[in-house]
């Protein structure tokens, strides 16, 4: 099962340096010829301002240079790193906006971003944080081009465009480190789509130019007077922002996005009773880090955040997770909504499967409380996971507490899922659930709702 340790390798693509996670520390080595520039940036007012606003990862110099003259830096570890393939569309847009904001601010100070990919951004709650401090370099004042323009389009805008216009999942970015080429989308667009903005700028024109001049025609830059170059560069960034703005959109309703409002198997009293139990349990145990499994639109994630916990909320439903992300963002709650499936966890990815960690490796023993409300019956029936395995997953994820809701076979939602397979699932009663949980947990509190569902506060043995 889970390795129980972070197995990520040292990063290796950036010629300026590398990064490795060592326990709770994140260590960055900066090669000698890039060290001065890195320090200059980190000591700048802009860096300080962005760090104080939580938009740039904090950095400390970890001692002097080592024997090879490399500079050693240290960052705090982001509690739960999530990857673009797990982000909601709103999180993608927020990460892209942060990247453009940062780049615009740098340009005014004679600097620029040398790369622009979602992988330079992590989330703390709903807030994007720019984490690659070696992405900043000095700008050639005569060059009006942003050399990372194409990467920004490939890795941010084209995945968003493919999602909005073609319904291609953003999760496909797992297999596309460098995003999409304009030619990947072009054949799938209608004539009208091709010539309307923002696709004309992002897909059609670049694709036709590439066809005309061949793929090897890149690798050039312009030289203009510095004042013109800066104005043109800022205009290019504004146009990217306009394209990003055009790619924002309303999410459609999904099976689960209206669940909280349409849960007819709950009366108002049941809802209140459930909320009261969960709130009371959370206040009593005072967890720092809560994982909300099957969070839906985040009613209980926000409840946990309201009592002081920082929450990571997993749900398989994109629309429900998007609502959770937006609400947390608007209300500034410490909730990080992630599209993730406990039954089919995001795999490790990248070179030797070691550049990006799998979902469970990132979550292993990271939380002092895991909530599993209205989820157990889905894992048991829809995903056909044995009850003992569900208990085992909870044990792996929490260091101490779990709040779990048991849904009995008489519940209409349970019956809906079983659909004629009563014989197979007939043995799944509350006694079997309790026996499985008691292998790893002690039941501290229990409350039965009027609709027959039961809530348990469990503590690890």
């Amino acid at each position: 099962m889970m390795a129980g340790a972070l197995a990520a390798i040292e990063t290796f693509r950036d010629p300026a340096g590398s990064l490795r996670v060592e326990g709770e520390r994140v260590r960055r080595r900066v090669r000698p010829r890039y060290a001065r520039a890195a320090l200059d940036f980190l000591e700048s007012d802009l860096a300080r301002e962005w760090v104080s606003k939580g938009q740039l990862i904090a950095t400390t110099v970890a001692g002097g240079r080592d024997r090879d003259g490399e500079l050693l830096l240290e960052h705090p570890r982001i509690f739960f790193p999530s990857y673009p393939w797990e982000w909601t569309p709103g999180a993608w847009v927020a990460a892209a906006e942060l990247t453009l904001d940062f780049c615009e601010n740098l340009v005014g100070r004679g600097l620029i971003l040398k790369d622009a990919t979602p992988l330079n951004v992590l989330f703390e709650g709903p807030r994007p944080v720019f984490v690659d401090v070696l992405s900043i370099e000095k700008r050639d004042p005569e060059n009006p081009l942003w050399m990372a323009y194409a990467q920004f389009v490939r890795t941010f805008l084209l995945p968003l465009a493919a999602y909005r216009y073609l319904g291609w999942p953003l999760a496909a970015s797992l297999q596309r480190r460098d995003g999409y080429q304009p030619g990947d989308l072009y054949p799938h667009l209608s004539f009208i789509q091709r010539w309307r903005q923002p696709l004309r700028t992002l897909v059609t024109m670049p694709h036709l130019l590439e066809k005309k001049q061949g793929k090897a025609a890149g690798g050039m830059k312009l030289a203009q007077d510095p004042a013109v170059a800066e104005a043109v560069l800022k205009r290019n960034l504004r146009r990217l922002r306009a394209a990003l703005e055009a790619l924002k959109g309303e999410e459609r309703e999904s099976q689960w996005s209206e669940y909280a409002a349409s849960a007819d198997h709950y009366t108002t009293n049941d809802h209140e009773q459930k909320k009261t139990f969960v709130r009371r349990a959370l206040v009593e145990i005072g967890p720092q880090h809560v994982l909300d499994l099957g969070a839906n639109t985040g009613v209980y994630s926000r409840l946990a955040a309201s009592v002081g916990a920082s929450v990571v909320a997993w749900d398989t439903d994109l629309t429900a997770s998007e609502r959770n992300w937006h609400q947390a963002s608007e209300e500034r709650r410490e909730v990080q909504a992630v599209i993730a499936d406990a039954a089919r966890p995001t795999p490790a990815a990248g070179w030797r499967n070691a550049e990006s960690l799998g979902l469970l490796d990132r979550a292993y023993q990271r939380f002092d409380c895991v909530m599993m409300l209205g989820l157990v019956h889905h894992l048991l029936i829809s995903d056909q996971i044995p009850i003992g395995e569900v208990a085992g997953l909870l044990r792996d994820l929490t260091t101490r507490w779990a709040i779990v809701e048991w849904i009995p076979a008489s519940d209409p939602r349970f019956a809906e899922l079983v659909r004629g397979r009563e014989e197979i699932y007939g043995h799944l009663d509350e006694a079997a659930f309790v026996t499985a949980m008691e292998r790893y947990f002690v039941s501290v509190q229990k409350e039965r709702l009027k609709n027959g569902r039961a809530l348990y506060l469990l503590e690890r043995r």
């Binding site: 081009l145 194409a150 304009p182 590439e210 890149g218 050039m220 312009l222």
Partner: protein, 84 residues
């Protein structure tokens, strides 16, 4: 006829020189693309030209601050003077 062709040619040349800036080899860390780069190059040349043109018009009508007009005037000279 010949005179008109020469005039057209000179006009075209003026536009080309006006838009053009020095093209140098780029040293990018990430793949700068080809179609996307060409699109950015084209857009940047046009935008540069418009920027200079706007400055020239402002100067003609005596608008804009002196310092800005001066900087923009220099840009024009520099951009126009670069080989195509």
């Amino acid at each position: 006829m010949f005179k008109r062709s020469v005039l057209y040619l000179l006009g075209l040349l003026q536009v080309v020189v006006f838009l053009a800036a020095a093209v140098k080899p780029a040293h990018a860390y990430v793949d700068p693309g080809s179609g996307l780069l060409a699109f950015q190059v084209g857009g940047s040349m046009l935008a540069g030209a418009l920027f200079v043109l706007r400055a020239k018009i402002r100067k003609l009508f005596g608008r804009g601050s002196t310092a800005k007009t001066e900087a923009e005037g220099q840009s024009e000279t520099r951009t126009s003077g670069l080989p195509g």
